[in-house]
Symmetry: C2
Subunit: 208 residues, 2 copies
């Protein structure tokens, strides 16, 4: 295949044009189009155009939380790393992940749970606007659904895109039944890069 | 879907069993099976079972480099974060990424290149066994192919799994024509998580 000569600053724009072309007649909801396109940009997988689900208030609530300087909590350091620190800082927001926290490891060991589960318990103490982005661990998403139903945590938005084979679909179904704004990629697919991409799509809408 | 009750320590094993079942009659080369399965585990995308390509010496050279305490250089901080620090440390290896390095940003700006390209130039100065894992930027993989052909860098293994729409396929074709051991996911798909998964599969073969 021939190399296309293109300036570094134009690569993303050109990618988005190609995605638009290939989406062709697939109709995406206009206020979610940039988010879905950024997920496709991150994965080169057009399946996400038909698997992503948004609660009615998800985008508005996510943007509102970001405008108020939200904390974004992720379930992996990878997802946390993938969120644009420079852009989030412009909004006065912060990103956190507890997975490497020794206290979390100790709690998980004591409870026979995963560290991701223990991270959600700790998240109940976060104050102010909160977005929780789960790109890896269905155990985190299941625990989060329990905590929301028990009225112990009230995130402004849950991004639920864990990936894999054990309880992944069940965890996404559980969070979509909760009273919480959500963005979910149904099915088995997802991942840390996708969680970060959805966060960045929202952040870029306010900063670019 | 019903929730499957399973101990945290057994989730990965169960996932791998499901992957084995669903691979069914697809024959994977035995000495690469764990690597391909880990990529599927990371993505829930079985397409990688037919798109991954290995040069004959790739796995042996990668393992040999790791045994000798290799440096793993990545093109994104996300991929770097995804590589198991604990396991790599057991082998005396280290992981590095230059993308946040102000010097790299300055060089890229001066040259009108991407930071990923500038990172590959800097990589020529790395001493000792070297694995380069590219999960994002085709510009990095194209530059790396040029540097290898110009005899300016001699990595023990190149993991070439950039993702996207502009020059991604061309960059993978270019690296597979070089005289270098490679692991490549052909086509547009790839990503930082996949680059990290391939590194971890090799690391775990020596540490688990």
């Amino acid at each position: 295949m021939k190399i296309e000569h293109i300036a570094p600053a134009d690569i993303e724009k050109r990618s988005m044009e190609i995605i638009d072309q290939e989406l062709g007649n697939i109709t995406l909801p206009e206020d979610k189009r940039d988010i879905i396109k950024r997920v496709i940009h991150t994965t080169a997988d057009f399946e996400f155009a038909r698997t992503m689900r948004f609660s009615d208030d998800a985008v508005a609530r996510g943007l509102d939380a970001l405008k108020r300087g939200a904390t974004i909590l992720t379930d992996t350091n990878m997802a946390c790393t993938g969120i644009s620190a420079v852009s989030l800082k412009k909004l006065g927001g912060q990103k956190v992940c507890y997975m490497a926290d020794p206290e979390i490891a100790a709690i998980a060991k004591k409870n026979g749970s995963t560290r991701a589960t223990a991270s959600m318990d700790k998240a109940c103490d976060i104050e102010g606007p909160l977005i929780i982005a789960i790109g890896n661990a269905p155990t985190a998403l299941l625990r989060l659904a329990e905590l929301i139903e028990a009225d112990q945590i009230h995130p402004d938005l849950v991004i639920g895109v864990p990936v894999g084979f054990v309880n992944v679909i069940a965890s996404k179904e559980a969070i979509m039944k909760c009273h919480v704004p959500y963005i979910v990629a149904t099915g088995r697919k997802g991942g840390s890069a996708i969680a970060a991409a959805i966060c960045n799509a929202l952040i870029y809408r306010l900063t670019r």
